[in-house]
Amino acid sequence: MGQKSKQVASFQEAVADIPDGSTIAFGGFAMPGTPFNLIRALMEHGAKRLTLVANTTGGAQQPRMPDIGMLVENGQVAKVICAFTAATRPTDVLPFTKYYESGEVEAELVPQGTLAERLRAAGAGIPAFYTPTAVGTELAEGRETRVINGREYLLEYALPLDYAFIRARRADAAGNLRFHRSQRNFNPVMATAASCTIAEVDEAILPAGAIDPDDVHTAGIFVHRLVQVPPAPEGLWPTKRQERAR
């Protein structure tokens, strides 16, 4: 291992082979860990009828960054699987909402923990599992439940991905990744669930072995392509700023 680098030269090259109809997940919770540069490349690439998986559909932050809402506006999206199809504050209107309400785009609303666990299950070869989350709610209507040790649980299925787009702080050529603070969020889980994981990386890609094996957050076997984020303004989202030394 480690003889060949997984680094590719550009975001364009990293997404070039993505076919129409793919299922693609995007890491990120609020801004940290969101692969903005890969999303922008996917907009330029133009793949259509995509199913997108993410925590939110985006569009709440200002200035606007590349997000699912933009891919929807770009006519590339058939379906979204996420934990928010609307903002928590009813007064915030997401760009996605009008496409969803008109029926142009389908959505599957999934509790955040169930979403994370369905992705983890896909990566870990668990086809289905039971969870207490959403029992007794509208989301459980008509679905299979089961009582175990006196409590009712909902059956949930694994959510496998064709591609995962993620963002990390540091990588070595073998694809081992480290994340900084809450940049981690969904990224390691999505990486395990995808046939092809593409990581945009804040720092220059290191030689294989430069990250101690005990310090790896996502093992290189789950990562297929690496792209280094260039400095702003070419690269989106500050790659490193104001980090508190501990």
Partner: protein
């Protein structure tokens, strides 16, 4: 929400009252909005670990301007600091902590809470879709669910109701409700008023509360922090 429009205690005071419930050693998840303000409350030397859905365990206050780590946010997207002993995990592990019952208390806002302990906070009437986030996981799995809300809507309608008419987040889970009017416990048969905010009367509260209101034998004034 306008502070002048509403009777009773203010938002920070509601949060303070809930924070007084936190016991030494607890792991607590604070929802977006008023619940976040619980971390401002002085509860002495009680050792509380704050957990955020995105996998941050042991965060502290909001970072001072100019000292933010942009890659470190709480569930509300605020740039926070970390306390000594903090740790970061990924999203599946973070919800493993929630679902596994390792959270001693979750504090959330809501549109409605019922006397059976149901509550609704993810979808408005007539809305297609909604914003669930981590609320259903937290509601179903935390050891205690504390709800913070203003006692009545802008139109003056009760938010403490006999039964939720909005789609619920979870059923039968709420153990404590704090509003600007007082502190309540859903008992199944009604809301038990345990503490009353200054300037309110039991009869005023009863008139603004759906379902049955009962009054604790030892009814006291709403406790304040500090």
């Amino acid at each position: 929400m306008s502070e002048t429009r509403q009777k009773g205690v203010n938002r920070q005071q509601i949060a303070d009252r809930v924070a007084l419930e936190f016991q030494d050693g607890w792991i607590v998840n604070l929802g977006v909005g008023i619940p976040t303000m619980c971390s401002n409350t002085d509860i002495g030397d009680r050792d509380i670990t704050y957990h955020s859905e995105n996998g941050v365990i042991g965060y502290g206050g909001v970072a001072p301007a100019g000292e933010e780590d942009l890659n470190l946010v709480n569930a509300g997207g605020q740039n926070v600091t970390l306390k000594p002993g903090a740790a970061v995990v990924h999203h599946a592990d973070s919800f493993g902590i929630i679902r596994g019952g390792h959270i001693d208390a979750t504090v959330m806002g809501a549109y409605q809470v019922s006397m059976r302990g149901d509550f609704a906070n993810w979808k408005l009437a007539g809305q297609k879709g909604g914003g669930i986030g981590g609320a259903m996981d937290l509601a179903a799995c935390a050891k205690r669910v504390f709800i913070i809300l203003e006692h009545v809507t802008r139109k003056g309608e009760p938010r403490l109701v006999e039964a939720c008419d909005l789609p619920v987040t979870a059923r039968g889970v709420v153990t404590l409700v704090a509003t600007n009017y007082g502190l309540f416990e859903p008992t199944g048969e009604g809301f038990l008023l345990r503490e009353i905010a200054p300037g309110l009367t039991v009869e005023e509260i009863r008139a603004s509360t759906g379902g049955t209101l009962t009054v604790a034998p030892n009814l006291g004034p709403m406790r304040m922090a500090g």
